[in-house]
Structure formats: C-alpha cells, structure tokens
C-alpha cells in the first residue's frame, strides 16, 4: 500500500483530520514562540548542526572513547549489528536474571527493532510507561508520532479504552482524570517491575555517560525502582563532550513542544549503587550503511524532536500511521526508504517540497533536498510505478524541445477547450480527484507576453 492509500483511511474522518492538523500546528506555534525567546537561536542551530556532523564523521573513535570511559564506571556495553541481535541481547540479559516483568520508557529504537513483540513472544511482560505510548500499546497499535504517540486519538476514545482495559468508570473524558487513572495503573507496574528499559537521548564520549530526557519522569521511575537498567542507543546518538549536551538541550524541548527544557534530564554514569546494573546496547541496524551515502548520511544528525512532523502539511493532514514506519513524517520518509527502498517507495512523494521541515529542524538536516534525492534514486532503480516513469520521460522529451512544446500547447488549447469536462478529468486522474482542472486559457503565456511587449513598444 502507498502512503496516499493509507492516508485515505485517516482523511475519511474529516473532523479528526481537522483537529489533528490544528493540534499539531498549535505545537508548531509554541515552538516558534520558544525559539523566538532565545536570542542566539540560529547560531545555536548552526553549532548543533556542526557538532553532529563533526561527531558523525568520527563515530568509531568516539564510541571507543565512550566504551573505555563507560566500562571504567561499571557500565556493560554490548554491540548489536541489527535489530535481531539487539532483541536477543536484551532478552538474554532478562533471562539470565529471571526477569519476567519489564517497564519501558519511550525509545524509537526499540520500536524500530520490534523489541516488544520479541519480548512478549518469550513470555516477558513489557509495559510502556509513557502515557501516550501506554495508550497505543493498550490499543495494540504503533505510536503515530515520535513525541506525541497518541496525538491521533480523542479523549473520549482514551476514556473508552481505559474503561475497557483498566476498569475506570465508563464515560470518563477529562484528561486530568484519565491521567490519574493511568498514573495509578502504572505506579503498580513500576513497583512490580524487575527491570527498566530506556532509550538514550545523548551518549557522551568524553565521560561514558548517558543523558535521558522525559517530561513524565517515567524513565526515572523505571530506572530508580528496579535493580536492572538496560538502555538501547543508536550509533548516531553520540556527542563528543559533556558541554555539547547544553547546546542540544537548549534546542531539543523548545523544538519538540515549545518548553524550555523537559521536566527530567537525567545523567547516568554507571550503576547507582552496589547490586544494581546498567547495560547499554549500541545498535547499528542499517546506520553504518546510511552513513556511507554521499548526502543522506546527514539525516543521522536527527535528535528526534518531532518539529518536522508538526510543521509538515502532509503529516498534519494524513496522520502518522499513514507512513507505516516507526518514525513517520519528513525524517521518517528519509530514513525508511534508505533502509528498505522497496517497502517505502511512496514516502518521498508524500511531500510538496515546501521545505518547512528543514526550516524548523534544530540540526539543519536539509530534509526536502534529501526527499528529492530519494525520488531520483527510486526512479532510477525502477521502484516507482511504470506509469510515473513513462509520464516523466514524456514530459522531459517535450520540455527539451521548445517547438514541440509550443505545438502541443497550441493543440491542447484548441482540443482541450472542446472536450467535455468529465473526459478531461478522467485524463487527469488521479490528480483530479478532489481537485477541479482549471479552465484552459485562449493563448499561451508566451503569446501573451509577446503581444504585451509589442503594445508597450519594448
């Protein structure tokens, strides 16, 4: 299925589409206000972009530096070539310690690796503890947004879900009361858990430290209560120095939600006490391959703030599930086809090339240029429908020949004006679905321009 086919399901509910669009635009506006309040915002983006590219150009050295420092602090570092190995490492760690109950905080990487299904298949209970993630987990669906996992749902739907699965009184639709229900339910799970799994926002090479940001404090409860903490990190998340974290923190929450900083920004340097364990799984899963691409490697600079999703006119109106990838939106449309071109060939086309994503990206990833790069590569590799390739070849042939272009234009204006509107629309399908063709003009732009120039004596 293509992006537009999946989006059709979402847009069928016009009221939901409007509301989704408006909510995300509201978040975008909050981001703008937060950014405007920082006098050195643009310079900060330059610096962040520069640090990330610098780091990406020397990942092996940084990870070796990290590993040495982290080991010294008692962190156990594991390496995973792909998703399968990542899941196996995590499962082995749990099994060796007889862990049957796990709490997990938000991590797009574990989503990418399919960790939950892998653990569940092995009989481990995994509870996602971010409220939005818990909601979508109870609904047995993936998150629709990397920062706001349940942004596609209305409060009444959450109320129904909680009544069904958590035993709350039916008809509850007040966000505060619903949050209280979830809080009580999750508090029990935190206490019962034998291990906490988290993602990582920043790995610091210099100190061997991990920095994890949340608003709810769920990663903190999940690592402060159980004795075992397993963190998963993608290869791209490393920064050289502790002081670099300040640069990214000033950008991250402002870009994500318009807050100045998340409520909890936790720094881990080894297990907190004797008898406690901290394991880190460093995951490649296609990242080194992406790093080798001449231009797309820059997409590894992403700090997963979600700003490009919130601003994207296509994302806002088509919903995160229409992308069918762990990370949706503009950045997802860059990452997914790079990993698996055949499965995600329509995503780079779910884009008007307006460039709004690149305008807001805190680390200045040229997202719309990268989508264009994908389009060219997908077309060249024959992964786009033949119809589209032939249409583009035809357009190229005509546009290269000015006389042919003029002649065909003349013909189209003569014949087109006489064709019934319905037939014209069929010729324009599927483009004309939901749009009307404009009336064809009597003369071409060039003829008009020539006539006016003559009149004005130029």
């Amino acid at each position: 299925m293509s992006h537009s086919e999946r989006a059709a399901t979402f847009v069928a509910d016009a009221e939901r589409t409007r509301w989704h669009d408006e909510s995300l635009w509201f978040v975008r506006e909050r981001r703008d206000r937060a950014a405007d309040a920082v006098p050195d915002w643009e310079a900060l983006r330059d610096e962040a972009a520069g640090i990330k590219r610098h780091a990406l150009s020397r990942l092996p050295a940084l990870w070796e530096e990290f590993e040495t420092a982290a080991r010294r602090r008692g962190v156990r570092v594991h390496w995973a070539v792909d998703a399968e190995e990542h899941n196996r490492i995590v499962l082995d760690l749990l099994r060796e310690r007889g862990v049957g109950r796990v709490v997990k905080s938000k991590s797009m990487l574990t989503e990418e690796c399919g960790l939950n299904p892998a653990l569940e298949a092995a009989g481990v209970e995994v509870v996602d503890t971010d409220l939005g993630e818990r909601i979508v987990q109870l609904r047995r669906e993936p998150p629709s947004h990397i920062v706001l996992p349940a942004i596609h749902l209305r409060k009444e739907e959450v109320g129904e879900l909680f009544a069904e699965q958590l035993g709350s009184p039916p008809g509850l639709a007040d966000p505060t009361e619903l949050t209280r229900v979830a809080r009580r339910h999750l508090r029990e799970r935190f206490h019962a858990a034998e291990a906490g799994i988290t993602g990582v926002n920043f790995a610091v090479a210099e100190t061997g430290g991990l920095v994890i940001c949340t608003n709810e404090g769920n990663a903190d409860l999940g690592t402060a209560l159980p004795p075992l903490h397993v963190a998963s990190v993608g290869l791209e998340k490393i920064v050289p120095r502790m002081a670099d974290v300040a640069v990214f923190l000033r950008l991250l929450a402002r870009s994500a939600t318009g807050q100045a900083i998340t409520a909890y920004t936790s720094h881990y340097h080894g297990p907190a006490a004797p008898g406690r364990e901290l394991h880190l799984v460093v995951v490649d899963n296609g990242r080194s391959r992406l790093l080798a691409h001449p231009s797309l490697w820059e997409s590894l600079a992403c700090i997963r703030c979600g700003a490009c999703l919130n601003t994207c006119p296509v994302f806002r109106r088509s919903g995160g599930h229409s992308y069918a990838t762990p990370v949706p939106g503009p950045i997802g449309s860059v990452l997914a086809p790079a990993r698996e071109p055949a499965g995600h060939a329509s995503l780079p086309h779910a884009c008007s090339l307006c460039g709004s994503c690149a305008d807001v990206c805190p680390v200045r990833i040229p997202l719309h240029h990268q989508l264009l790069t994908h389009r060219a590569e997908l077309l060249a590799s024959g992964l786009r429908p033949g119809r589209r390739r032939r249409a583009l070849a035809l357009a190229a042939a005509v546009l290269e020949r000015p006389r042919l272009f003029a002649a065909l234009g003349w013909l189209a204006r003569r014949v087109g004006r006489r064709l019934p509107a319905l037939l014209l629309e069929r010729l324009g399908a599927p483009w004309s679905r939901g749009r009307a063709l404009p009336e064809l003009p009597r003369e071409s732009f060039r003829a008009l321009h020539a006539r006016r120039s003559r009149r004005d004596g130029r």
């Binding site: 610096e47 749902l153 002081a243 936790s266 720094h267 881990y268 006490a273 790093l291």
Partner: protein, 195 residues
C-alpha cells in the same frame, strides 16, 4: 559478542564521511539583567513556583508552603531539615507528601535545577507529592552553558536537571501535572544569613 563489536566499528570505519572539523563555540547570550526574575518566569512556565527566602530561613519558607505544616511524612535530603514521619522499610517513600532536596544551581533561561541525589533521595523525589528544591540565591546561572561549566555530572553515578513537576500532554494536548512523579514543585532561593 566481540564479533559484533568489530563488525560494527569496522562498518563505521568503512562508511565514515571525510572528517568534519568541530564548529567554533557559539557566542553565548548576555546574562539577563535580573536573573532571578528570568528564573521565576521559567519556573512558572514549567508549572513550578519560586520563593525567595531571606536570612537563610529554610524552615520558615517551608512552613509557608501550603500543606507543609500539617504534612505527616516529609523526606529531607537537605542538611538544614530533619525528615519526619517516615516508617521503616522500602514502602516508606510511597506515601510521601513532601521531599526536600538541595540544588547545586538553577538555570535562569529554562528554570532547571541541578541535583545529585542518592538512590534513596532520588526515589523520594520521584514518589513524593510535592518536591521542594532549595538552591543558594547566588547559584543562579544564565544558561545551560554556564551550568555545564560548573557541574561535574561524571563525578557521581547519577545527577539530574529538574524543571517543574512531572507532566504530560499526551491526551489531546491538555497539560496535566503529576503524570507519574510530583504534582507540584517549589524552588526556594535561599539568601545568605544577614548578620
């Protein structure tokens, strides 16, 4: 899985783009004229409250916090205050009304406070209803850059920046305080004793 380590690092070596030099350190914004006012604004935006305390009178400031005088269970990691009403055992922290922690510094631009808790203090700070952070008045820095120049996160296994109470907006973008942790946060700026 030594094999995977070599495989990953080897793949990275083969794939690394040409070296990109480190960018110059950015010019940092000028310090706000009134750092305490800026801090207050940031703390309130994060859903917390800021109280300036003269004469180093922590006890007096705490007594003015709503519910503190009557609170049965108070956890203190602050040298200037005794815990009270704590039962023994690990459940002790579940029903805490207040947790009081010292903060090393506060960041005016974002309202965050740096603290290095022991594992028990950390649990208390997460499970109490109302978190109180006490920071010396002269430890307000303009931005996170100055904060990171002062703190030494790697010196302790754990340290955190705390900004406002635990919060979520995952249901229809409505902000709810107290998603998992404290529902309220008070930052007390402690002025030196005027002797």
């Amino acid at each position: 899985m030594a094999g995977s380590r070599e495989a990953v690092l080897g793949a990275l070596r083969a794939a690394s783009p040409a070296p990109v030099p480190r960018p110059p350190t950015g010019r940092r914004p000028a310090a706000p004229e009134d750092p305490v006012a800026a801090l207050r604004q940031a703390v309130e935006a994060a859903g917390g409250a800021l109280e300036s305390v003269c004469d180093g009178d922590l006890a007096g400031a705490l007594a003015r916090l709503e519910g503190f005088a009557a609170a049965a269970r108070v956890w203190s990691a602050h040298p200037g205050l005794e815990s009270r009403g704590l039962p023994d055992g690990p459940e002790a922290v579940e029903a805490l009304e207040f947790a009081v922690l010292p903060g090393l510094l506060a960041v005016a631009e974002c309202g965050a406070v740096w603290n290095e808790p022991s594992p028990a203090d950390r649990r208390a700070a997460l499970l109490a209803d109302h978190l109180v952070l006490a920071v010396p008045e002269d430890a307000v820095v303009p931005t996170l850059h100055e904060a990171y120049a002062r703190i030494r996160p790697a010196a302790e296994p754990f340290g955190w920046l705390l900004a406002g109470p635990s919060k979520t907006a995952d249901i229809e973008q409505s902000l709810v305080l107290g998603a998992h942790g404290p529902r309220a946060l008070s930052l007390l700026l402690i002025g030196g004793p005027t002797r």
